[in-house]
Amino acid sequence: MSEELSNNENPVPESLQGQIAITSLDKIYNWSRRSSVWPMTFGLACCAIEMISTAASRYDMARFGMEVFRASPRQADLMIVSGTVTKKMIPIIVRLYNQMPEPKYVLAMGACASGGGPFKEGYNVVSGVDKFVPVDVYAPGCPPTPQALLHSLIRLQEKIDGQSVLEVPWYRREPIEEIPQPVLGPDLVDPRDIPDFAEKLKAQEERLAAEPE
């Protein structure tokens, strides 16, 4: 059915949009998806411990249908980036993200994953996972307590509830582009920068030549 709906040759008429058929389908579709968001078993740092605590019996994510932590990205819907993202780790995170099937969501848990956190100034720290991977919900805190994480998961469910099968990108005809994986060189290099990277390098050399330290 969804295939039919996403067929661009048969667009839903303006007057029918938002009508009963679509909205109830959306409702069922969103309800089933938000009630079974399976996160990936993917712990980075301190926040991972709070994530495990959230999954444990006191806070019990199973109440939201989220207890099925999958070790493989192929079976996961949600990547909880729980901790400091380092330059050495980001290529692997991007690869894992690319391996996850659509629909997929990313939750940046804690200050570090959101924007670098207290370790932002460090030479090996990426200031926010959203520099490379699209993030749906940010949970501030260092670390967010289990209840705060639950709150952000509820926010994610709300976000899923607001989606419509007509608009979501994963039923479009054109394939979804993978995110190019960053590479480790003398520093972290973002492939998306490569076209103008040489220019930047040149500018840097000129600047260094201009102001010798």
Binding site: S57, A71, E121, F197
Partner: protein, 587 residues
């Protein structure tokens, strides 16, 4: 490091002391003010270290680290050696010119120097000749520069020391990455071309993994050998840890740990911070036992400042440190069982008890995990009313029962025994040589516990036993942890009974403490093992050098040794029994 060794002598001519007489021409007392230990010429280092280990009985190398003395144009390598019978450290140092820092490696004397020397090479660029595998350990191969050198600058460099000028008064909020969009401070080498550049792979890493030849003559014919990567994203590596394993069928031939995936530059940030700012950062080292980390750092800086906390504070510190040990061991036992395949249930039972202790931490310090509770010469605040009662309920009633239950639940379980007994054996002499610490060392039959061997705080007042087992396998490590929980409960029980009323802070709590110039090495028995802080002060508000001797990092040195000859599935169990925390391994 002891006070007696620190140079007090003012006059130029000085009688050589006992050690100098014993090693004429080799040892010279370090006479800088506030410093201790001896200087050893680099060319005599290996010979002296061998003598120190064999003749004087300093068999345990605790810490190896480098210091970049930029103004003096020197690099210094600092070694702290101990006797496993107990007693203070023997500190010796080798100084080399900063331009070409080359020091002979001590891996041949103490195997535990392996990773620490690699770290010093990676972060400070000190080359250790004779090191079997001197590659970068925390950063990747091909990374430009050695970041802990004082003249190295990172991409978002703002200033050398905190507080940063631009936060106040002119203010104006910004995100630093917007301001410096393309790392102004990242210096790419001039020959670097993004198009023609091939990223360095893991060839060096794979070449370092031992492979056996099967033609019997030491030739290079390789058959049926497989290199497998476990991690960095693997559910059983306790975080972002990677192991490169060579397998013959299912048997492990060799293993190389790869780390640095969580290297968040703790030491560099620590050298930029003021002393008090480092306290919350220490929480994030071994994030399961933040109170113990606080303890170690507070002790070290107090040693430098020469102050002592009041009596009540000492008691609260011990209570908190021991509760942390209980929490940590519960967690580690739970997840060891997870690694063995007993999915979730034991871990969930253990986490339940942990949650109750965390409630105490939250009430006391304000945060479940990142306690930031200790201050120099005191604590952040006194215990809130009612907390002591909750602690009593926990340690007199609930926890002893629950630990017995856990014991009944797991210890005699045939599957646990089959999976654990005889797996990952580390003989005592190897454990000492590898500088293993904590439960890993004590499960191998070495009753070495800093709380007993070199007591700090008020640990000499409590009646407790050092848990020790003699098998050196995964099962014994599990039993040592269980026993340690019981001993910790005993200590807290005594402490709660004896805790006096009174002040909690020596002097006034200041946000800018005055730390006289000098060096200090403070160590505590963390749940994971011996946690050491090496702090060098030059009298300014920020430490000149701030190094952490991380127990889980150094315990990993022995991982390959423990895994060889076992099956793949056992690696996970062995790793679980070492109980690593990546925040501390990578720092």
């Amino acid at each position: 490091m002891t006070e007696e060794e620190s140079p007090q002598v003012e006059e130029a001519t000085r009688e050589p002391d006992d050690m100098e007489q014993q090693f004429p021409g080799v040892l010279t007392l370090d006479e800088r003010k506030g410093y201790g230990g001896y200087l050893v010429p680099p060319d005599k280092l290996v010979e002296f270290a061998t003598q120190l280990r064999d003749e004087l009985g300093y068999d345990y190398l605790s810490s190896v680290t480098g210091v970049d003395y930029l103004p003096e144009e020197k690099m210094e390598v600092v070694y702290h050696a101990y006797r496993t019978q107990g007693g203070p450290a023997f500190v010796f140092k080798a100084q080399v010119p900063r331009g070409d820092p080359v020091v002979p490696s001590l891996v041949g004397v103490w195997l535990g120097a392996d990773f620490q020397e690699r770290e010093a090479w990676d972060l400070l660029g000190i080359r250790f000749t004779g090191h079997p595998n001197l590659r970068r350990i925390l950063m990747w191969e091909g990374f430009e520069g050695h970041p802990l050198r004082k003249d190295w600058r990172e991409a978002y460099y703002e200033e050398d020391a905190k507080p940063f000028e631009n936060r106040f008064p002119e203010g104006g909020v910004y995100r630093i990455e917007d301001k410096i969009s393309f790392g102004k401070n990242v210096k790419y080498p001039s020959e670097f071309s993004p198009e023609g550049w091939i990223p360095e792979g893991d060839e060096g890493l794979y070449a370092g993994v031992g492979q056996i030849s099967t033609d019997g003559n030491g030739g290079t014919l390789k058959t049926d050998q497989l290199v497998v990567n476990l991690g960095p994203q693997h559910p059983s590596t306790h975080g972002v840890f990677r192991m490169v394993v060579t397998l013959d069928g299912e048997t492990v031939i060799d293993l190389q740990p790869v780390m640095g995936y969580l290297h968040r530059n703790h030491e560099q940030i620590g050298e930029r911070n003021t002393y008090i700012m480092n306290m919350p950062y220490t929480d994030r080292l071994d994030y399961i036992s933040s109170m113990s980390n606080n303890f170690g750092y507070a002790l070290t800086v107090e040693k430098l400042m020469g102050i002592k906390p009041p009596e009540r504070t000492e008691y609260i510190r011990v209570i908190m440190a021991e509760l942390t040990r209980i929490v940590n061991h519960l967690w580690s036992i739970g997840f060891l069982l997870n690694d063995l395949g007993a999915f979730q249930t034991p871990a969930l039972y253990a986490i339940n008890e942990r949650e109750l202790v965390l409630d105490v931490f939250e009430a006391v310090s304000g945060s479940r995990m990142m306690c930031n509770y200790f201050r120099f010469g005191g604590l952040a605040r006194d215990l809130p009313p009612g907390t002591l009662q909750t602690i009593r309920e926990l340690i007199f009633e609930r926890l002893p029962r629950r630990i017995d239950e856990l014991d009944l639940y797991l210890t005699d379980n045939e599957i646990v025994r089959a999976r654990c007994i005889g797996v990952g054996v580390l003989p005592p002499e190897k454990a000492v040589a590898f500088s293993a610490a904590g439960p890993v060392l004590r499960a191998s039959g070495v009753p070495y516990d800093v709380r007993r061997a070199d007591p700090y705080g008020i640990y000499d007042r409590f009646d407790f036993e050092v848990a020790v087992r003699y098998g050196g396998d995964v099962y014994d490590r599990y039993l040592v942890r269980l026993q340690e929980i019981r001993e910790s409960i005993r200590i807290v029980q005594q402490a709660v009974e004896d805790i006096p009323e009174g002040e909690i802070q020596t002097g006034k709590a200041l946000y800018q403490v005055r730390v006289p110039a000098g060096e200090a090495y403070g160590r505590v028995e963390n749940p994971k093992g011996e946690l050491g802080f090496y702090v060098v002060s030059n009298g300014k508000p920020n430490p000149w050098r701030y190094h952490i001797r991380a127990p889980s990092f150094i315990n990993l040195t022995a991982l390959a040794e423990m895994c060889k000859g076992h099956k793949v599935a056992d690696i996970v169990a062995i790793l679980g029994s070492i109980d690593i925390i990546l925040g501390e391994v990578d720092r």
